[in-house]
């Protein structure tokens, strides 16, 4: 069926759109405006605040810390999440559900509780306040976002392919390396990208697990927010909008998201 005729849903959808992107757009506009305070309507145009990110020592090192944390989280996802995702379909349905639920522990636990759980365990392991440990914590919490895209890529695969490959004389090893792995790659890349973005923007875990010496960019912005809402901080936040947009374009190009969200289960 095409098009609902009553306008109420459209109005509510428009309200939803404003709610979802309105503040983000304001951040973007504010980040290129002149003046030490965010003023509406904005006046002037400058990219100074972006240059400031590179010039300002603390902002720059906070950004580097964020990259450190995000790369560790992606590595955790690739090393631990990918093999698990690949093995999941081969496990019996009952056990599979248990494993999936277990892997989603970080997502089902309130994030602040996870943060202090890591706080406790890291203190005991003697790695508390290490950036790599923070990255691992974020990687564990975001593990499901690595596993889901791969599972959906596996679901989309033609079940006849392995049979076709072995009919043509492929050894299972070759079949895995040259057929299943390439087909899984978009799922792996999508998962890695999503984990990267979620990790580089992480706030709650980082603000518990880092110190003022190794704080990540979101925590750095947060400490700045307490004193003033300046365009400089806006530029730093807008950086995340840039990263998110870039990533979204890539993920959309690789495909999957649209198909995954808008797939019709029955014809």
């Amino acid at each position: 069926m095409r098009g609902t005729t009553f306008p109420v849903p459209r109005l509510l959808t428009a309200a939803g759109v404003v709610l979802l992107v309105g503040p983000t757009l304001i951040v973007l506009v504010a980040s290129v405006s002149v003046g030490r305070q965010i003023v509406f309507p904005p006046h002037g145009f400058t990219l100074d605040w972006y240059a400031e990110i590179v010039r300002d020592g603390p902002t720059w090192s906070a950004l580097l810390h964020s990259f450190h944390v995000a790369l560790v989280a992606v590595a955790v996802g690739l090393l631990f999440g990918v093999p698990a995702a690949f093995a999941l379909p081969k496990i019996g349905a009952g056990k599979r559900l248990v494993v999936i639920l277990a892997l989603s522990l970080g997502l089902s636990t309130p994030i602040i509780v996870s943060a202090f759980s890591f706080f406790e365990i890291f203190a005991r392991l003697g790695v508390y306040q290490h950036l790599t440990a923070v990255g691992a914590a974020i990687g564990i919490v975001n593990l499901p976002f690595m596993v889901w895209p791969i599972l959906s890529a596996l679901e989309d695969q033609d079940p006849e392919l392995p049979a076709a490959a072995s009919t043509l004389g492929a050894d299972p090893v070759e079949e895995f390396l040259f057929i299943r792995l390439p087909l899984m790659t978009p799922g792996i890349v999508t998962g890695a990208i999503i984990v990267f973005v979620l990790s580089i923007t992480d706030f709650v875990l980082s603000q518990v697990l880092t110190t003022s010496a190794n704080q990540t960019l979101p925590v750095f912005i947060y400490s700045g927010l307490r004193t003033s809402i300046s365009p400089g901080l806006g530029a730093a936040s807008a950086l995340f909008i840039g990263i998110a947009t870039l990533v979204f374009v890539v993920v959309l190009r690789i495909g999957g998201v649209e198909r995954f969200l808008l797939r019709r289960s029955s014809s």
């Binding site: 069926m1 098009g3 609902t4 005729t5 009553f6 109420v8 849903p9 459209r10 509510l12 959808t13 939803g16 709610l19 503040p23 983000t24 757009l25 304001i26 951040v27 305070q37 965010i38 509406f40 631990f80 093999p83 698990a84 093995a87 494993v99 277990a102 892997l103 089902s108 636990t109 309130p110 602040i112 509780v113 996870s114 759980s117 890591f118 406790e120 005991r124 691992a136 593990l143 490959a165 043509l168 070759e174 390396l177 979620l198 923007t201 706030f203 979101p218 912005i221 947060y222 809402i229 806006g234 936040s237 995340f240 909008i241 998110a244 990533v247 959309l252 969200l261 808008l262 289960s265």
Partner: protein
């Protein structure tokens, strides 16, 4: 394709890549390979489970700490007991924050689901691909930009010299001081809940039986009636699922009360952190965490059960 029969007659110069493939194939064919093959799924899943076990262990330590007395001055763990829980339940601050968290979570989750139903309907049914794509991009904006950019945006919108003040001055109304109130927190919370609700509702919206809507209209039902009596009942289970997820997310919300509430209207999550760090009584923070997990699990479970129970009583 290569098989090992071919490999026997292969010329001396074989690319290194293929040698590796052949080596892997011979390993697979050996006894070792067979053993690995049967154990493979377990071996592949085990590292991930062990890693998540780290978090589980952390939660365990948290629960253990909450069951002990604590000397704030010496920073020493004392005797085993439920003292922390009884202390916290009688704590004024805890009671206020608990009531605030539960009521705000319920209201924001309900609003998010009510907004998400028309949103996902419009998204799924738009016949322009660009509308669908745009709405999809919009959904992911709050998640991918993160808590800080999101709340920073709200501070800029609602702040003293932002658009809200500007609009109010145009109309001739005194600009309200929204930051630090439940209104600001509510706006921020609904913004994160809405995408979650839409993602959960979408599959159900795509499964809607459009024949039923046609039938209702043929029989003369107005669109609002069709929506209430034909579309909504089909979305009941998904709506309750979305409600449960949103409620759980809102209950654990930390960033919105912390930044938009400016510490004036704390949720349990903020209370937990304050006890842990600022007030220096980690076991009370830990106890709050355990209570929070219990509340979230029980509440979300209850909402899911309610969704099912009503369906069974009135089958469609």
């Amino acid at each position: 394709m290569h098989t090992s029969q071919v490999a026997i007659d292969r010329p001396a110069r074989v690319p290194a890549g293929w040698r590796l493939v052949d080596a892997l194939i011979s390993i697979r064919r050996s006894g070792l390979g067979r053993g690995v093959r049967t154990a493979a799924p377990a071996l592949l899943v085990a590292p991930a489970l062990a890693l998540v076990g780290l978090l589980a262990a952390g939660i365990g330590f948290l629960a253990w700490a909450s069951l002990h007395a604590y000397d704030t001055f010496l920073g020493l763990q004392g005797a085993f007991g439920f003292g922390q829980y009884s202390a916290i339940v009688h704590d004024r601050q805890f009671q206020t924050d608990l009531v605030r968290t539960v009521s705000m979570a319920s209201v924001t989750a309900a609003i998010a689901v009510l907004l998400a139903i028309p949103f996902s309907l419009v998204m799924a049914r738009s016949n322009r691909r660009w509308t669908r794509l745009a709405l999809m991009v919009v959904i992911f904006v709050p998640y991918l930009t993160g808590d800080i950019t999101r709340t920073f945006g709200w501070l800029a919108v609602l702040g003293p010299r932002g658009p809200l003040t500007w609009i109010c001055e145009r109309i001739g109304v005194t600009p309200p001081d929204v930051i630090g109130t439940l209104w600001a927190i509510g706006l921020g919370t609904v913004q994160v809940l809405l995408p979650a609700a839409v993602v959960i509702l979408l599959p159900a919206v795509l499964r809607l039986d459009t024949e039923l809507e046609h039938a209702a209209r043929t029989l003369g039902a107005r669109p609002s009636r069709t929506f209430l009596h034909v579309i909504l009942p089909q979305l009941r289970i998904a709506s309750f699922g979305a409600l449960a997820a949103c409620w759980a997310l809102a209950m654990g919300d930390f960033a919105d009360p912390q930044i938009l509430g400016q510490g004036l209207k704390d949720y349990l999550a903020n209370f937990l952190q304050n006890r842990y760090l600022a007030i220096g009584n980690p076991p009370q923070g830990a106890a709050t965490g355990v209570i929070l997990i219990g509340l979230v699990t029980a509440g979300a479970g209850l909402i899911l059960v309610l969704g099912r129970v009503r369906l069974r009583r009135r089958p469609l």
